[in-house]
């Protein structure tokens, strides 16, 4: 009897460890796949396009974006990405990278902001914003997120973002938190990062903008958030709206200390 019990415990233990092993292997092979792809990450094409767009004189005012202040002074690009979203005195708003770029394109170059906001992702000037964001993010590659939280509005945006993150609604009664508030869970083979804290280097907020191999598109954080809401069967949030910037503030502040790997490559 005793032998039997020991045997069954052994069988149980070994079946659990085999399952754990198989799971590990699947995740590892995805990592290997990503490492293979990373060598020829087409995000580099968007990076090059973004850098050229930053320096090129464009728009009705025929100006470049080199005087654009991304939070560290006019024209300073390096390190700007890991401190966004933040408060900007000239617009009296908390802005993320894309929202700030649209402001700069409007004030410096005279490009119509409403047209950018209403365009489809990957089309016209909105595609240019994504390319610019890709290049600017790349300039901060390896640096650690450290969003400022000293201004009153920055604190408000963080709190609003937190509430949006936990707000359950829509046809499926879903919230961001439904999938992203626990450790070590997955949808099929995709790891779901816990975004209520720092999920680690290059995970979650620190992994975008990224190139998606499956559809050949370069995705910015705004595009990523838009798709999160699509997956939750919510109405689409407005591009660079305060709600999306607030969510970005919440994710960005939580990611404090995480190293950015942008531009990343995704399945």
């Amino acid at each position: 009897m005793k032998v039997m019990r020991q045997l069954s415990i052994f069988a149980l233990v070994s079946s659990v460890s085999i399952a754990a092993l198989a799971q590990k292997t699947a995740v590892q092979s995805i990592e290997e796949y990503r490492a293979l792809l990373a060598d020829g990450n087409p995000a580099e094409l968007f990076e090059a396009k973004g850098e050229a767009l930053w320096k090129q004189k464009r728009g009705p005012k025929n100006a470049s974006l080199e005087k654009c202040d991304l939070g560290k002074g006019p024209g300073v690009v390096k390190g700007a990405f890991v401190e966004l979203p933040r408060y900007f005195a000239d617009t009296n708003r908390v802005q993320d990278l894309e929202s700030r770029l649209v402001s700069c394109m409007e004030t410096l170059q005279g490009i119509n902001a409403t047209e950018i906001i209403n365009a489809a992702f990957g089309k016209g000037e909105k595609a240019n914003v994504t390319a610019l964001a890709t290049w600017i993010a790349t300039e901060s590659k390896g640096m650690r997120f450290n969003l400022p939280q000293s201004h009153e509005k920055e604190k408000v945006f963080y709190e609003v973002g937190k509430r949006l993150f936990f707000q359950r609604a829509g046809a499926h009664d879903f919230a961001c938190a439904t999938c992203h508030s626990k450790d070590n869970i997955r949808i099929r083979l995709q790891d779901l990062p816990n975004l209520t804290k720092n999920p680690g280097d290059g995970i979650g907020f620190a992994a975008w903008p990224a190139y998606r191999v499956s559809n050949g598109q370069m995705w910015s954080m705004q595009h990523r958030l838009n798709d999160c809401y699509r997956q939750q069967r919510f109405p689409f949030p407005g591009y660079i709206s305060d709600a999306t910037v607030a969510l970005g503030s919440y994710l960005g502040v939580n990611a404090k200390g995480a190293a950015s790997i942008a531009p990343a490559i995704k399945r």
């Binding site: 060598d39 020829g40 087409p42 580099e44 094409l45 090059a48 191999v213 050949g216």
Partner: protein, 103 residues
């Protein structure tokens, strides 16, 4: 005009590994748009590369190659400072040539 390629050529010993990223839609001609109409094929048909002006690589491509393709090949007898030039042509008659110096 087509966006530029990204070309890197890294020398190790007497060989250079050339890595090329091309910016292209690579539409297969088999997909349909939201209105149900076939999206016309638009893809690279020919890729050639030269090493200091001498042809070293030629390929015929079709619609099965991915969007924004990545190409890698090794050239023997290369040294730092050598010039690599890559050209693609597509089925609309458009083409693009870019150059890189081996390091």
């Amino acid at each position: 005009m087509a966006d530029p390629m990204r070309i890197r050529a890294a020398v190790a010993g007497d060989k250079a590994t050339v890595r090329v990223l091309m910016s292209h839609e690579m539409e297969t001609g088999q997909r349909k748009d939201s209105a149900g109409k076939v999206i016309p094929a638009w893809h690279i048909t020919e890729v050639t590369a030269t090493h200091n002006g001498k042809p070293v690589f030629a390929a015929e491509w079709g619609g099965s190659v991915s969007k924004n393709p990545f190409l890698q090949f090794v050239v023997k007898g290369a040294k730092a400072g050598d010039k690599f030039s890559v050209t693609w042509k597509d089925n609309k008659g458009e083409s693009r040539t870019d150059e890189a110096t081996a390091t």
